[in-house]
Amino acid sequence: MKFGIYPGCSLTGSARDYNESVFAIAEAFGLEFTQIPDWNCCGATAAHNLNKELSLALPARILALAEKNGLEEIIVPCAACYSRLVVTQHELKKDPELKNRICEVIEMDYRGTSVILNVIEWIDKYIIPKLEEKIVKPFNHKVACYYGCLLVRPDKILNYDRAEDPQTLDIVMSKIGAAPVDYPFKTECCGAGLSISRTDIVSKLSGKIIEDAEHRGAEAIIVACPMCHSNLDMRRPDINKYWKAKYKIPVIFVTQAIGLAIGLPAEKVGLKRHFVEVKIS
């Protein structure tokens, strides 16, 4: 089975750890990816605030390229990219006239036939069925599953997990032996939109997320979004400074956790690249 993969800007930059873990577990499960050739920026978060057609044309081009290359299913590990692609597909399906306009803009034929999967959907569909036999080292830790804002929203379009109190990540984690804690901050804002401009707000908001996870005895925060990860991991010194605290809880991608559970070495799944040291294995 060959999937298309859309890496977006993070996976090849600040979230190389995420990228490595996705490829590592795919390989372990005999799954292959084809990167969408000549892919472009998905337009998150800037485009849809400025120009609606542009915000649709950018993802539409990506999807059209996928169609052109015969990629029926595309995995989009970044939650922000995922959201843009799915919303675009929805908007263009709803309005054929708009679709025609966008096709003219991108000078390509777009039909909207590709299936777009986020990382959890992909895990659910292709990893979970074969997971049990591969687990060599169950991830026996208490974890706080943090979904962030884009993975499950807007729920009217995604229609795959409930927007408030989502469950899918918790289910995946429990399948590899983890014990998810009751965690009310699952979808609280990490401040991603202000990641660059107002780091103080990021520190404030992300700090609350980290504090509650530690308070509930979680040994790791599990994420599936590079933005979440960078705010909770990379910004940790700022957060600790802001809150005058010493939060040590590591932030782990779900794909990294799966990698560990099936016995992949920490380096292979990018765990050595984190700012907050990951001591658990």
């Binding site: 409930r162 408030e164 109190d165 009751d182 009310p184 509650d212 308070h215």
Partner: protein
């Protein structure tokens, strides 16, 4: 030979200002079969009507066309005038010269020409009208009330007190409904049970009322005045006549861990039980799903201890077939389970409860004897948060409508809490306070001003537990949308009121329409709020939409009056504008070929089967037959019928065809 009279009205100047009425009358007078044609200033006035009556006699008219205003305005007036003049009222038609012509066009020749066309069309139609007689339908003077809550009780008592028989059906073991669960009632804070229980007893004792509890409607056939209702009396596993209601069985039953429905799951009950002490009838039933005997085949302790040997383990369900003249639907409402709002934590955290659960906590006869104790540890909450609109007015996640009663009962809950826990703090998150009603707003003001309930205008985003406390995160929109976080000991959700479970199923059995929320639909939102679109079936209480007690009771009385009015005659009279399937001589019997596609289009189940039998009793032909009592005259079957075997009186095929021809051709 037809002799038609045409009466052109000026309507003061309303018509004559733009239409040349004289020319209309004259032109129409030249038509074949028009025996008399005249104009007059006000046809609807007494002299105008006398003109018609006299002309009918003088010119021996066989049909009348009054060319005036809309038939929706004055058709009854002129039909009555014709009847008084000795002409069958259905031989009178109206040509709408005012609303459809003079008021909407300028004064010119085309307008007068249009007026002539309109009148001529009615002349051609009325030639084909037939003298119709009103339809008479017999009435069975027994009413059925479905549902034994306060609305059903009120309706049943009111009907019974007019001297008519009432059969009341209640699906749970006791009547009383949600009102019997309530602690106190707004805006008076009087005890709900104290005012309800006497009514329940009255129902049980009323000579005109027959009560079937633990019973449900199985099927409904027939039509107004003549319903045939099958009722399933579920087996109570008890000989009700032998049982004295001593209650020994319920105390000795070894199975005691069944969540008590009456207590909203906040207490337990045995497998043989009386739902609550004041239940009517005060007789137990065995809950077969949870009874050890039915599950494992042995126990029978209740049978052993019963002093009157009233237990009947092998009792079957019983089907009653009842003849009913009118039905009052009073099946009430349910509350929406809060699991669609996972962020509010209902079901996950024990101390987050819904409004009905709070009623039981606050009730003197409830599981805590009226002391407000939180379910998790029995502690008295010091800080309590009430969340209004938990699901109501929320099209995205809940329901779009306002549940109407929540604002008031939330105020009541907060007050009851403050009255019982003086040192406690009560907070209410609300969107708007809807307290329209006699003494309602004063009641809410009292909660705020006298009992110092903290009202916060804003919604709650999430409720979660941390260190044994409930953290309620919300917003205060009156303080510049500031985020608010309250650390509470208990949270009460004012969950939306929704249609009673099984409402859709019942509506389909009754052939009554229901809205998208499964609430029963009234025939007209303003002028027929008590009627349904099925004649003879009426609505009372919260089965139509969430209602408070006084609204439910007044509507129940309204429904009772409708039933009483229906029962005041031995026969019903209806306008005879109904569909009819033709009949011919044997061996054809009818041109209907019996495909019964009409049956599937009829919204009123008015199409029946009629079998024709040969002398040897063998059925030789089955054709459609219209039940005049049920048919409302929409004519959808008429347009569908391929063999043109159905026709609609008043709008017959020949009539509408003649109208088309008359409107478009020269005469």
């Amino acid at each position: 030979m037809a002799r038609i009279g045409v009466f052109v009205c000026h309507c003061g100047e309303n018509i004559s200002a733009t239409v040349d009425c004289g020319k209309v009358a004259e032109t129409i007078g030249n038509l074949k079969h028009v025996a008399y044609s005249t104009e007059y200033k006000y046809m609807c006035s007494d002299p105008g009507q006398t003109l018609i009556k006299d002309a009918i006699k003088e010119h021996n008219l066989t049909g009348v066309v009054v060319s005036a205003c809309s038939p929706r305005m004055h058709e009854p007036t002129f039909r009555k005038a014709c009847a008084e003049g000795g002409l069958n009222p259905f031989l009178c038609e109206m040509a709408n010269l005012r609303e459809h012509c003079s008021w909407v066009h300028e004064k010119n020749e085309l307008t007068t020409e249009k007026a002539i066309d309109i009148v001529r069309t009615q002349v051609e139609k009325v030639k084909l009208n037939s003298a119709l007689q009103p339809i008479k339908v017999p009435v069975t003077k027994t009413a059925m009330v479905i549902g034994g809550g306060i609305a059903g009780i009120q309706s049943a008592l009111d009907i019974a007190n007019t001297g008519h028989k009432v059969i009341m059906i209640e699906r749970s073991p006791s009547i009383g409904g949600h009102m019997s669960q309530l602690s106190e009632t707004f805006p008076t804070l009087d005890c709900s049970q104290c005012i309800l229980t006497p009514r329940m007893v009255e129902v049980a004792q009323h000579p005109n009322i027959t009560l079937y509890t633990y019973a449900e409607v199985e099927s409904v056939e027939g039509f107004i005045g003549n319903f045939k209702v099958k009722v399933r009396k579920k087996a109570k596993s008890l000989d009700e006549k032998a049982c004295t209601g001593c209650g020994l069985c319920t105390t000795k039953c070894p199975q005691k861990k069944i969540p008590n429905e009456f207590e909203q799951g906040m207490g337990m009950r045995p497998a043989i039980y009386v739902p609550f002490p004041q239940a009517v009838p005060n007789r137990p039933v065995i809950d077969r799903e949870n009874c050890t005997y039915y599950i494992k085949g042995k126990c029978k302790i209740c049978e052993i201890v019963c002093p009157t040997k009233a237990i009947r383990f092998d009792q079957p369900d019983e089907i009653l077939e009842l003849e009913i003249g009118a039905i009052v639907v009073a099946t009430g409402f349910d509350i929406k389970h809060a699991d669609f709002f996972p962020e509010y934590g209902h079901g996950r955290y024990k101390d987050i409860i819904d409004g009905l659960q709070f009623e039981r906590l606050a009730s003197a006869s409830g599981p805590t004897a009226g002391v407000i104790k939180r379910p998790s540890d029995g502690e008295i909450p010091k800080n309590i948060v009430f969340i209004a609109c938990a699901g109501s007015r929320d099209p995205a996640k809940g329901i779009a409508y306002c549940s109407k009663i929540c604002c008031m009962y939330t105020a009541k809950h907060a007050m009851l809490y403050k009255h019982k826990v003086h040192e406690g703090k009560a907070h209410v998150f609300y969107m708007d306070i809807r307290s329209g009603g006699k003494n309602y707003d004063e009641f809410v003001r009292r909660a705020i001003e006298e009992d110092h309930v903290n009202y916060i205008r804003g919604r709650v985003s999430t409720v979660f537990e941390r260190d044994g406390k409930l953290i309620v995160k919300g917003v205060d929109t009156l303080l510049g949308a500031q985020q608010v976080e309250i650390v509470a000991d208990m949270v009460v959700l004012a969950t939306a009121g929704v249609a009673s479970s099984g409402a859709e199923d019942l509506a389909q059995k009754l052939h009554v329409s229901y809205d998208s929320h499964k609430f029963f639909a009234e025939a007209h939102p303003k002028l027929k709020p008590v009627e349904t679109n099925t004649a003879g079936i009426f609505l009372a209480g919260a089965c139509q939409n969430p209602k408070d007690i006084p609204d439910a009771v007044s509507q129940a009385s309204g429904a009772a009056v409708k039933v009483a009015a229906l029962f005041s005659q031995s026969e019903l009279t209806r306008e005879p504008l109904v569909a009819i399937v033709n009949r011919t001589s044997p061996p054809t019997y009818s041109t209907c070929v019996g495909c019964f596609m009409c049956q599937s289009v009829c919204p009123y189940q008015a199409i029946e089967r009629e079998e024709f039998k040969a002398r040897d009793g063998k059925v030789v032909k089955t054709v459609a037959k219209i039940n005049e009592g049920l048919c409302q005259g929409c004519g959808t079957c008429v347009a569908l019928c391929r063999s043109k075997s159905i026709d609609l009186l008043g709008y017959s095929n020949t009539q509408v065809y003649a109208e088309v021809v008359a409107l478009l051709n020269e005469y």
